[in-house]
Amino acid sequence: MPDDPSYLQPAPLPSFGLEYAAAPESTAIVSIAERYQLFIGGQWVEPRSERWFTTTNPATEEPLAEVAEAGADDVDRAVTAARGALAQWSAWSGRDRAKVLYRVARVLQERAREFAVLETIDGGKPIKESRDVDIPLAAAHFFYYAGWADKLGYAFPGRRTRPVGVAGQIIPWNFPLLMASWKLAPALATGNTVVLKPAETTPLTALLLAEVLQEAGLPDGVVNVVTGAGETGAALVAHPGIDKIAFTGSTEVGKHIQRELAGRDTRLTLELGGKAANIVFEDAAIDQAVEGVVNGIYFNQGHVCCAGSRLLVQEPVAELFLDKLKRRLDTLRVGDPLDKNTDVGAINSRAQLDKITELVAAGVAEGAEMYQPQCALPEKGWFHRPTVFTNVALSHRIAREEIFGPVLSVLTFRTAEEAVTKANNTPYGLSAGVWTEKGSRILWMADHLKAGVVWANTFNQFDPTSPFGGYKESGFGREGGRHGLEPYVELDDLVAT
């Protein structure tokens, strides 16, 4: 308003930027024991291995508890307990098994805050994610599979289901309680018994879940928890009393497990790594696509097997999109995972931070251009800035290897065919995202992308009713939905004569 200088030049105003005061979730709700024994046959028992390891808070580097390290003897004891409980549990009616699972789901909801805080302390993920994603979804999986327990006769028409037997389930550290729930709920609904091995950096919520299972009336021995690292997992895989292995983790370990099981009558499902492409077309809703890309790679510090770690953006909007993406990165709040306003928490372990740092250095060395917001990082704890690489070539390591951290590699494309070629040009095939306003293009892309999940105009959406799993080196078998029952049932043909 040139004619009104008084309006143009108001008295100097104070700076109005809103600082967010610390808003930490209280930890008073959790009590962490000094030591955690093994949970076998409904009892807490000392490890015969007499070995213990320490689980650490990655945001403070402070030890949280001593946890028993199960040796081969302990694993054997757990498998024996599971075998012993199998006849009784599988003879329960589906309705009775459902009752227990519904109870578990309800207790998870009732104790949601406790589980959320514990998950965040032990694993480093932001409290808003454990509170709004991990724990509610874990409860939802128990609810969902409780619903199947008395309807198995309808899941596979014309066929009768029997449990497979004793399942060995190996859980990753990125979604400790949720992945345990993904595996336990269908196994229990179908009448199997389980030996569960949580990851060594994040055992605490699985141990609390064992308590909840017992409280909910699950018979002794139906679920046994053996804590430990790779050696414990190897003992579980090697045990001849196991009828099925379900593994979520790295492709390297998955391949090893598959070799171990060759020649044995042991079923296997693997949910492994990924290098997913998030594909943004020029007609996409740009601001929402930016959010989707941010959610795709910075959710859970990028510790997500289906993370959208490669952004493929169509060239006419590439510059605009990257400007918006960088500006959005500047608003991400990195820090104390217990603070309710934290968007990006702590890296799960020192080893993982080292791996991310090494790959980021490789990206710089190979000539990609790096962008990081200049946010302050906490002095203690394992943290990594959200990172974007532009000018990335498909041949760069950061475009090929799974980083499993908050690092995005950006490539551009010209046509839908080129986008599909680049997206599929990876050993992995777990997920993909397509961003366009054109419905027919979404369908065409979904037909041509080799990925177990294709999200359209969204990313990282999970639902217990929806099967999840990979192509190629991302693994095989599906978790979630009716398909998630299959790995846990033997199917008999019903033939009327």
Binding site: M1, E19, A23, A289, G292, N341
Partner: protein, 295 residues
Amino acid sequence: MALTETAVDEVGLVARAAALGTRSIKTSSKLAALDLAIRCMDLTTLEGIDTDGKVRAVCAKAVQPDPSMADIPSVAAVCVYPALVPTAAAALAGTGVRIASVAGTFPAGLGPLDVRLDEIRWAVAAGADEIDIVLNRSAFMSGRYRQAVDEIEASKEACGPAHLKVILETGELGSYDQVRRASMLAMLAGADFIKTSTGKVGTNATPPTALCMAEAIRDHADRTGTAVGLKLAGGIRTAKQSWQYLVLVQETLGAEWLTPDRFRLGASSLLNDVLMQIAKLRSGTYQRPSDFTQD
């Protein structure tokens, strides 16, 4: 006239707005936010039964929201019908609180253009510093974008030195694509502010609408270098809503938008809830509603 714009995905927009709504604003941040909410408030009375007495009472409250907390700032402006502008002008002279007037045959805006422009000129002559008009949605919804732009340009000219706020009445536009299109149209035509609602229809300001408009303002600023303000109006009654909107604006447009020159909250009953929360934060206990003046 064609007006193509980037699409808005409703699901993603609503999810992002909801995520921003979960920011936890505590203690010192909450006090700062509430202080800012008052500084950015257009204290509004737009009723057919508004009288000189009512408007004088509102103006007194605008200048000094709470006599028992003398450090509470004045609001940004008082918003009234044109006929009450002289009363407001007399009451607010020398206080720094600005006078906003709706005009242009508010709230439908479907009077003859000459009449609408005359009304604007009349209100400015009577002392209005800011004019709130509605977008010609009859023209907009039938695709006569050129007409809608021309009318806003003419209104802007009629405003002279006064600031022009263009109300989109987002609750009636039917989609976020249309909200974005209307936002862009109003900004291209020279609006100083774009504003959600008249307060006269069922759906008023909502977080997704505010986010959609803020994103449009950001893109307009990137393309043209012109910073347009955002006014949210209608249905904002609680202190919590006000800080959620401040968070949304800060994280979308940046802290430089958190000034009365670029952000306004139009409300009639919000102020007392804000005052009540400030009093609670300062004293540790809630006061009775009757401790706050009902003007």
